[in-house]
């Protein structure tokens, strides 16, 4: 449990820092502020999870340290070059992260599970990213190709960094494997995540 909350806490903290940085890519102040607001929500999530760790008698910093390198490397490998790449990263990354967290929330005791469900991203931010991306693709259909490839790269980096975390953090992996069901449980969990991701890509016609 500590393993998972440490990952969630640092994931939120770094998502905040990178979204704040990406805000400068926005084409105008309204959009720039919107990404700032989305980033600030991550800090709120971080604070809740860190407070819960402290309630459990765990130093939040100690719980987060193991995840610093893989999460930073994920973000370094997926640094958006422009506003649409930044929004795609939010849309794809937050979508997968939320689906994954909703799955593991079910494996935690009710109080911790509720907390994890509370820090899932507000749907209005996904709706904002989706609407922005849809408008950009309609204005210039060539954009879809580029973002489709970018989205695949995001998923690839997410998987490879998640695998590294899974390999290094046996107790975290154990929690997920035990919860998902030992036989094909993990495989099914990945199928559910993949299906949901595909649905998001289809919604924007990014699955060609």
């Amino acid at each position: 449990m500590v393993e998972l909350l440490g990952l969630v806490a640092f994931g939120e903290l770094l998502a905040f820092e990178r979204m704040a940085r990406d805000a400068a890519l926005a084409p105008d102040l309204r959009r720039r502020a919107m990404l700032g607001e989305m980033a600030a929500v991550e800090v709120d999530g971080y604070q809740r999870v860190a407070a819960r760790l402290a309630e459990h008698g765990v130093d939040p910093q100690a719980a987060m340290v193991p995840y610093v390198r893989p999460v930073e490397e994920y973000h370094d490998a997926t640094e958006p070059k422009d506003w649409l790449e930044a929004l795609t990263k939010v849309y794809v990354g937050d979508g997968i992260a939320d689906d994954f967290l909703a799955e593991v929330a079910a494996l935690l005791d009710p109080a911790d599970g509720d907390l994890v469900r509370q820090v899932l991203h507000d749907g209005r931010y996904a709706a904002f990213a989706e609407a922005e991306l849809r408008a950009a693709i309609e204005a210039d259909p060539k954009v879809a190709n580029r973002l489709s490839m970018w989205a695949r790269r995001l998923v690839g980096e997410t998987l490879s960094h998640a695998q590294r975390v899974a390999a290094e953090r046996a107790s975290l992996t154990e929690l997920i494997v035990a919860g998902a069901g030992r036989d094909d449980g993990v495989q099914k969990l990945f199928q559910r995540l993949t299906t949901a991701h595909s649905a998001r890509m289809n919604a924007l016609d990014l699955n060609n």
Copy 2:
């Protein structure tokens, strides 16, 4: 009034972005998260001020646009190179900004004035920065010299960018001059800001 709220709104938005960036300079995750929390508070302030502008029938983006260049140039000219410079910037910059805003809040109608007072920085963040700086100076007194020069540079950049804004935005300057009192009112206002800044520097023995 719109001039002032536009400046406050964009000031908060950019303070957020730069503090989020500076968080990566922190020596550990606890301090990194603390700067993240401080940054997120700026977004909250931005949202309140932007909402007030909208209530007044003003597009927040239009009200902020004139301040993008001077505020960005101020931050570009004062980009901290390490954690202690980042904290000094928070301590010095937020201090001056809050003193200035408290002065102009008195010039606005009561509702807008209350709003500006609400977005002043929470004292616990200044206390955090002050305690961090004091500990660093006690551990290595040579640090005081370096930070003292850095603080002077911050004040110099703040003044020169503020003068540029004042020269370019006649109606903002008019509001302040009219409120402060036409004769030596502005001079006295600057004296009050300078005195308060000196007191903060003295608290850390940074006035040598």
